[in-house]
């Protein structure tokens, strides 16, 4: 095997694998520190997430959200942008979905309402990303800082809208009324039932198909269109992109809109799929989770699907842990997210020098 070949193996496969493994080992150490047997915990976790129909349904349902936010972060990464604003874009995207699903004529067919409601999420998610994008491209304000600020603005805006505008008269809790029936995405167990198969009830709904569709679309867009090419060129080398006749400012704005739109789809799963109304903090944690998913999935849709599934397992399995064991809660998933971001992101190159030294030394004869 040539040295180039070995290097690409190390960078492409071995290194990410070791990074994820390290994050897992670190989590195991946390388990030991709090007096939980990590092997027992893993068994409970895996069984809870994959061991039975309902658990698997929940796992896939959580994974759907992570696919959306993971793709959002990844698309931005490809243009060299770090979108921390997934949390806010998902939140406001949900508002877009809700507005369509609340106020459209209830007599309309689902074939009209559902695409419109999805577009509402895409549009509002993109809108929430466009100001930070514009400020980054044309005024030089750092997108990380502005998207953080926009997360807080989103949460203030949503509290205001839910409390003062969308809350139904006489209701105490800040949530909207029910969406019109035509906007409800069917549950997977209902779909199966209509074909005569009986599976356990779970919140898993047809959003998962939307997630798969958009994963394919992102893959196609990034690697098989001239726009995807331009985005990747800007991300890899701004100067070379300018030389190649690409306008990085435009690309920044377009990419962030796509990224925000993808994050805005979280509402499809949570609101159209399960809750059928808009409520506070439905987006909680998925925006940041998306960063971990994107880093773990190496910003590639296939990797993101795998990573999202893994985080789905952790979310659902974590709930099971919560239930089964006294001294651990599902917040262990948050710890794990942090560790994944640390080892797959911040400490991405931890093992690189040592691996290169032993597996692909520079040949003396050349």
């Amino acid at each position: 095997m040539t040295r180039e070949r070995r290097l690409s193996w190390i960078n492409g496969l071995l290194l990410p694998f070791l990074n994820v493994l390290t994050a897992f080992i670190a989590t195991a150490i946390v388990f030991v520190l709090i007096g939980v047997d990590p092997i027992k915990a893993t068994k409970i976790l895996i069984y809870g997430a994959l061991g039975y129909d309902e658990g698997l349904g929940y796992t896939l349902y959580y994974a759907t959200n992570f696919v959306f936010t993971g793709l959002a972060v990844a698309v931005a990464f490809h243009a060299g942008l770090f979108n921390i604003g997934g949390e806010g874009q998902a939140y406001v995207g949900g508002l877009g979905t809700a507005l369509v699903a609340l106020y459209l004529n209830p007599a309309l067919s689902a074939w009209v309402v559902i695409p419109l409601a999805i577009s509402g999420g895409l549009l509002f998610g993109a809108l929430w990303a466009i100001i930070p994008a514009y400020l980054q491209a044309y005024r030089g304000s750092h997108i990380v800082i502005t998207t953080i600020m926009f997360n807080f603005l989103a949460s203030a805006l949503m509290v205001y809208v839910l409390v003062n505008v969308l809350r139904e008269v006489g209701e105490m809790s800040p949530e909207s009324g029910d969406f019109i029936k035509a906007s409800w995405l069917p549950f997977v167990h209902d779909v199966f039932a209509s074909f005569g198969y009986k599976i356990a009830k779970s919140p898993l709904n047809l959003s998962i198909l939307v997630a798969l569709f958009f994963s394919g679309l992102v893959w196609f867009f990034l690697w098989h269109t001239r726009w995807g090419y331009a985005i990747r060129a800007v991300g890899k080398s701004n100067d070379a992109a300018i030389y190649g006749g690409i306008n990085p400012k435009k690309i920044i704005v377009i990419t962030m809109c796509i990224s925000g739109a993808l994050a805005g789809l979280v509402g499809i799963n949570e609101l159209m799929g399960v809750q059928h109304r808009l409520f506070l903090n439905f987006n909680f944690g998925y925006g940041f989770g998306g960063i971990a998913v994107a880093l773990m999935g190496r910003n590639h849709p296939v990797g993101i699907l795998i990573a999202a599934f893994l985080f789905g397992i952790l979310y659902q399995g974590g709930a099971e842990l919560d239930f089964e064991l006294q001294n651990v809660s599902r917040d262990i998933v948050v710890v794990m997210q942090g560790l994944v971001i640390l080892f797959c992101g911040g400490l991405e190159y931890l093992y690189r020098p040592i691996l290169i030294r032993f597996l692909a030394p520079i040949e003396a004869t050349e």
Partner: protein, 167 residues
């Protein structure tokens, strides 16, 4: 050049919007690869592997890949900076020959270089600049290192003192 792009993607830079590279929204990747392979062959870029990361080519081969990209497009005007820097001797001759061929085909080429010998052997006309101003223009055949050096230092009193200088 974009180090983290593979050779075929680097060879596409600047031309990704071309009509024949796209079919609707679809970027024709197979065509991009085939094109890359053929220009690599024409310019003797080694190894001929469009999937190899650009940064994994040697400096000389990277240089040849970039030149191949621009030369094979057959432009009317070409601005080249330091075309032979870091390239091995055989390739230098090859690149210089391609530049001359292009001139012979009636194309305008602006060559920017620090190597006086290269400039003198390739150019029809040499323009020397110093501090952002043109300090002299000579025909390639008439130029010698001393005059060019004087011009570069902006040390010529007047054009009359320069034998063979034309304005």
């Amino acid at each position: 050049m974009i180090a983290e792009f593979n050779a075929s993607e680097t060879a596409l830079l600047g031309y990704h919007n071309d009509k024949n590279m796209n079919q609707g929204v679809w970027l024709k990747r197979a065509l991009v690869k085939a094109n890359c392979e053929s220009i690599m062959e024409a310019f003797d870029v080694r190894p001929i592997n469009p999937n190899l990361m650009s940064s994994n080519f040697s400096g000389g081969n990277q240089q040849k890949l970039i030149l191949a990209r621009e030369f094979e497009r057959d432009p009317e005007v070409l601005i080249i900076g330091q075309p032979t820097r870091g390239v091995d001797i055989g390739a230098i001759e090859f690149i210089r020959k391609r530049i001359i061929d292009m001139r012979d085909a009636g194309k305008a080429i602006i060559l920017i270089s620090v190597e006086l010998e290269e400039i003198m052997s390739l150019s029809d006309r040499i323009i020397v600049m110093c501090d952002g101003e043109i300090t002299g223009t000579v025909n390639g055949d008439d130029a010698d290192e001393a005059t060019l050096g004087m011009m570069m230092a902006n040390a010529l009193q007047s054009d009359d003192e320069l034998k063979g200088a034309t304005l």
